[in-house]
């Protein structure tokens, strides 16, 4: 027969899609700077026990409201707590929030989005209307509402399963914050995933998979999902900055992370009275500036991913 392989002298190493993404991302200066800051945040969070000069709850009564010095790099607050150590320790809260909230909202969003988009029918209607109801509330207000109301229930549950020690250590506050932010975060992602599924399920390669005899779940997970993920990655990564800002707002208002757990939002709330104080102003400005830099860094990383994954935008 005339069908014969065309000989090729040299077979190049295949270029994968993710290889291209990494290449394009690395050529984006703001995104790379953002990535360095983000990696820095996680490094500080990880190494916090080594970096702190004293325990973040330790009280130095000889130095109350002291200005920055060699002992207390960023001074102390009105209780004599070392601000530098608190700022460092608070990086842990920000790091936790930046990992767990997107992970939780993504799981919920993917689960409901896939079900709605792939099963369709009344399942779709119920899931999406539920999302619409959550959408109808002003986002941050709804977060405040959830955060302010679910704490007793979660506290009860944690004690119920015998984790009384955890309850004392503010573990509950983390759960409250994560739950509140994720509950508000998932409907947007579910909508996005559902939309992707609806468009992709009628594409020819999905029909082709069906013609081969690929099972429904395998089609959903192996054929549709990987193709649906790029916009999802962009939205999730772009939203992390906003999530950290939301946690800060919660803590600023006193319904997020509670003392003694440090959080930058809480510190800004505690120290904003010093904003015109010639000596103690770093107490307010240092956490604020760090917060701004971190949020911007996450936004730049998100934008960089957006451009790297959708190269035809520019």
């Amino acid at each position: 027969m005339a069908v014969k392989a065309i000989p090729h002298a040299k077979i190049k190493k295949p270029r994968t899609m993710w290889g291209d993404v990494v290449l394009r991302f690395s050529q984006n200066l703001p995104a790379m700077m953002g990535l360095i800051v983000v990696i820095g945040l996680y490094a500080v969070a990880l190494l916090a026990p080594i970096l702190v000069t004293t325990n973040y709850t330790a009280i130095d009564l000889d130095n109350v409201r002291s200005a920055p010095s060699l002992v207390h790099y960023l001074g102390t607050d009105e209780l004599g707590r070392d601000v530098y150590s608190r700022v460092v320790w608070a990086a842990r809260s920000a790091a936790f929030v930046s990992i767990f909230v997107p992970a939780l909202s993504l799981s919920l969003g993917l689960f409901f989005g896939i079900i709605a988009g792939y099963v369709g029918g009344w399942v779709d209607t119920i899931v999406m209307r539920l999302g619409d109801i959550l959408f109808a509330f002003p986002g941050l207000l709804f977060v405040f509402f959830i955060a302010a109301t679910i704490k007793p229930a979660i506290l009860l549950w944690v004690k119920g399963i015998g984790l009384t020690e955890f309850a004392k250590q503010g573990f509950v506050d983390y759960i409250v914050v994560f739950t509140a932010l994720s509950l508000v975060g998932w409907p947007g992602l579910a909508r996005l995933v559902r939309g992707q599924f609806l468009t992709l399920r009628n594409r020819e390669f999905v029909l082709a998979a069906e013609a081969i005899g690929v099972s429904q779940w395998r089609i959903a997970l192996k054929h549709i999902l990987p193709n649906a993920m790029t916009p999802v990655i962009v939205v999730v990564s772009g939203g992390i900055g906003g999530t950290i800002a939301a946690e800060t707002s919660l803590s600023f208002l006193g319904i997020g992370l509670q003392p003694p757990n440090p959080s930058w939002g809480q510190m800004i709330s505690d120290y904003y009275i010093y904003w015109r104080n010639t000596e103690l102003w770093p107490l307010l400005f240092i956490p604020s500036i760090i917060l701004v830099v971190i949020i911007l860094a996450f936004t730049f990383v998100g934008d960089g991913l957006h451009e790297a994954l959708n190269p035809y935008l520019d």
Partner: protein
Amino acid sequence: MSEQKDVLLRVDGLKMYFPITQGIVVQRHVGDVKAVDGLTFDIHQGETLGLVGESGCGKSTTGRAILQLYKPTAGQVIFEGEDITAMRGESLRKMRRRMQMIFQDPYASLNPRMTVGNIVSEPLEVHSLFNGKERREKVKELLDVVGLNPYFVNRYPHEFSGGQRQRIGVARALALNPDFIVCDEPISALDVSIQAQVINLLEDLQQEFGLTYLFIAHDLSVVRHISDRIAVMYLGKLVELTTRDELYANPMHPYSQALLSAVPIPDPVVEEKRQRVILEGDVPSPANPPKGCNFCTRCPKAFEPCYETEPEFKEIESGHWVACHLY
């Protein structure tokens, strides 16, 4: 190939309606798009049945409904004596091994996130055929059969040209060693220079593996080249079905005549004398087909019964089926 052969696939009264609904909360059913409206034909073992018709007449839908990619509204598809429209789940999945499809758009029919190797080996994987090394060997063999370098297994579809991608699609369809392949306009998205290559490949494969094709196309010269018999479709219905030579020599239905008169002839002297039948107007909406014969609104030979009753699809001469009141 005029001698009577075994029937491999019988399509009996196949209908594929897509519902039109209105309303946001409660979906009201207000009508149907009658994409395929009662097709009956046989496909014989080892033959190529060409299916022609203009865009939107339901050719692709027919192909997909035969393979149960769409659940037909009514009618039966009988493959080797078994009604596959009644099959569900696992038995249908097993049946899919024997019937495959080659798609129109080689850019849309390959998953962009899978390597060529994964695309071609997936059918083997989901039907648990071969293992590990054997499966990889089989994939390389398939790529070789369709004229691709077996070293391409780790590449992604975007690294290939349209013709090469279509070969990947062919390799995927061949992987399960099917008896019957629906070729849904497999060459209409390709350059003319590549079209011939793919056509030749399909013909070679047919000889080598004894395949039966349903070849959907709108390019009449290609259909003439590859088909043994040809079915002409208009607005969801068959208007004529006969052998290739008979159709081109003696088209009976006015629509077939108009269609064939549009084929240019590569001889300037003959081409000069070619009489074209120009059809007036547009194809009616498949959601609201005309009363009587579907073609009556544009037919140059229409007379009273055409506007009143639907013509029966009947055998006028041996092996020549026409749906027209003229005969």
